[in-house]
Symmetry: C3
Subunit: 290 residues, 3 copies
């Protein structure tokens, strides 16, 4: 059960029956509920909840208490605010200062502790909370929710929802922050196919393998793939629903490092350049942990 934990060593005068008010007076709160999974025993409704990181940072996010047993914590969303802008303002998951070989990691968002946005507006803007790097998780869940949809309708309006079940994050440090420390989303670090990161099989919750079948000549459906390179050695963070089998991954992967050498550039940005339907490019990608 969730309960307040006040570090007794650091705060000697707090009695065993420490009250929250004492803890706040003290300036430090250590509350047990570190993820929606921990809340799962006592809470059963989807919605916004307060969580507390291991360092004592209190934040609020959306919990999915329904899908496959519930306990999923929303930790991030990737929202494209301008399909015509190529690495411009708002491309926090790639580069906001143009395609630039001098910034091979771009914003570095996939592997740092910078946070932004709110859960409530995560279909209208990028979002990243402390859970992204703090929660010790085993699996991910991904929702593609049309832009500007209210949170009460996220689940019902999603055009694609899926999750992993094989506890793959156990192998990569417990969350995407540590996974991307191992597999940096950095231009030039590797070659396509041979140096790609892990590709994990998925279970569909809404939609199925048909949603992007026009891409099957260059990918295999039924996966989520991490840190992949294209022909020009540009790095992308995440391919949603498919595992690349070729090099033209910019057509269906999102996020990225800071440089896309392809001429002009036409590819740089949070949503690099989807050949998928407008339905997909105008939906935010919400990332959950459990």
């Amino acid at each position: 059960m969730s309960h307040v934990v006040v570090d007794q060593e650091e705060v000697p005068y707090v009695k065993t029956k420490a009250k929250l008010e004492d803890a706040i007076l003290q300036g430090r709160i250590k509350q047990a509920a570190r993820s929606c999974k921990e809340l799962n025993a006592s809470v059963h409704a989807d919605g916004l909840y307060y969580l507390n990181s291991s360092r004592g940072v209190l934040y609020q996010t959306f919990c999915d208490m329904t899908t496959a047993g519930g306990g999923w914590t929303l930790v991030a969303s990737v929202h494209e605010n301008n399909m015509y802008g190529k690495c411009t303002l708002g491309d926090r998951w790639s580069n906001q200062q143009g395609s630039d070989p001098n910034r091979p990691d771009g914003e570095g968002t996939w592997a740092n502790t910078v946070t932004f946005g709110t859960a409530e507006s995560s279909t209208s803007d990028d979002y990243k909370n402390p859970g992204y790097y703090d929660i010790a998780a085993q699996d991910v869940s991904v929702w593609h929710v049309p832009n500007n949809i209210d949170l009460e309708q996220w689940s019902a309006t999603s055009i694609l929802r899926y999750h992993t079940e094989n506890h793959f994050l156990n192998l990569y440090g417990g969350n995407l922050f540590y996974l991307f420390k191992k597999f940096p989303v950095r231009f030039g670090l590797g070659a396509c196919i041979t140096d790609n990161g892990p590709a994990i099989p998925i279970v569909y919750d809404t939609g199925n393998v048909d949603y992007n079948k026009n891409l099957y000549e260059i990918s295999t459906p039924g996966f989520i793939a991490f840190r992949v390179f294209n022909t020009e050695r540009a790095a992308m963070a995440l391919c949603s629903g498919v595992k690349p089998t070729g090099c033209h991954i910019e057509h269906f992967c999102i996020g990225g490092g800071g440089h896309f050498p392809e001429a002009i550039p036409r590819q740089c940005g949070d949503f690099t350049r989807w050949s998928a339907s407008k339905e997909i490019t105008e939906a935010a990608v919400l990332l959950f942990y459990r």
Copy 2:
């Protein structure tokens, strides 16, 4: 009276005398004070207060407990950080990526749930809190406060303050978020005069109809007008103190969609291009609900 409400259905084990600490442990707080108006019975001093949205988002803002009976909640401020920049960084109420017909809504701020800034710095930067889209209000109040003024001096230093009294928001969904859903601030959606949104009569609290009389050839004083178009079908969000009677509204209206076709452009931005005094252009526009 304000009191903590813990949803009994969702949280079965919480007893009737639920304490705040239980509610926080639970990860969810539902507190009754949703606006400064609700606080009005027990609180009488202007200042910063914590409010709680209907979705349980806790936030802090400034309450005006004085004007015309008090109970006004600060929900937003429009601050121009660069009169020389035309739709550049900081133009969150119009477009931060240049005048662009591909982004007819610009940032979309008037009708989405993205929030930014703090109450305390709302005369030094743009501000928008959850109250903007959450509070069920009837009237608006507007303060023009010189840039960088401390909140204790806002009221005394304002160059213009007024409010509506006819409960017009009852007709438009209860706040500006819903009003602008009905009247999108989008380039090209309509023509000047004929397609403008509502213009509501105002009562002056500081200043009077004379403050922008140099504009009276193209407008009528004593109103606040919403979603108006200019000659080139560019949309602006709000005309403060006047109702346009002509098409050159860019001279006295603020906020806007993402495109201003007029050549160069000279008009794009949060403060499009005021012909009013420098006193007006160097003051933030604070928006309150009641």
Copy 3:
């Protein structure tokens, strides 16, 4: 000792033994711990703590409870996200819209109440909390921490740490916000050397006067200097570890106003242009008060 203070005058019905929940219900919290120094009597571990500003703004930051008696509050960090960008996005401590004589103060960050970032990510992004303008302090402490280091390792990995001991802030309003009100970081306001602000002697905690000895032809080590001008009358906010004795200060000072007239420009930005080692330019500058 820290305790909740509910203003009795404003909130008449709250009893003497006011509980935190009442205070929150009331919408206003006035908590005594306004700085890490005030927590110092009961708390002895470095880490993240909640503080409360004089206006009742609750925020969280890092307390250094170790150095020279402890009680140091982290109030800001200056982080260079792009040494190749000259006054581009992320240069919040100078100008994010290019070198521009029309914006002589640039963002105005050194002397306004705008806040951004989080304590936890202050080696990966800029940071400024309400303590910067709220705390009544006497001295400053500065840490140069390599980018992207976790807070548990900040102290051990710092390449330079020092503090002042002469209570100089007593003369300048009690913090840097007020110091920079007196000495605006504004292009063109003065000439190099003659119009510089105060230079305060420092005590080294990590490192010593040798760290930037390659600069000693144009500066004196063992100081922190504030608001200095270069040859072209560009203003910089802070010279870390040295006092300028010449005019080419852009080589070792940080922050700044909005315009650097030197051709091209090569100098504009949070880290103007350090001739110091890459070690220095790739470290965030953390500012503490006590």
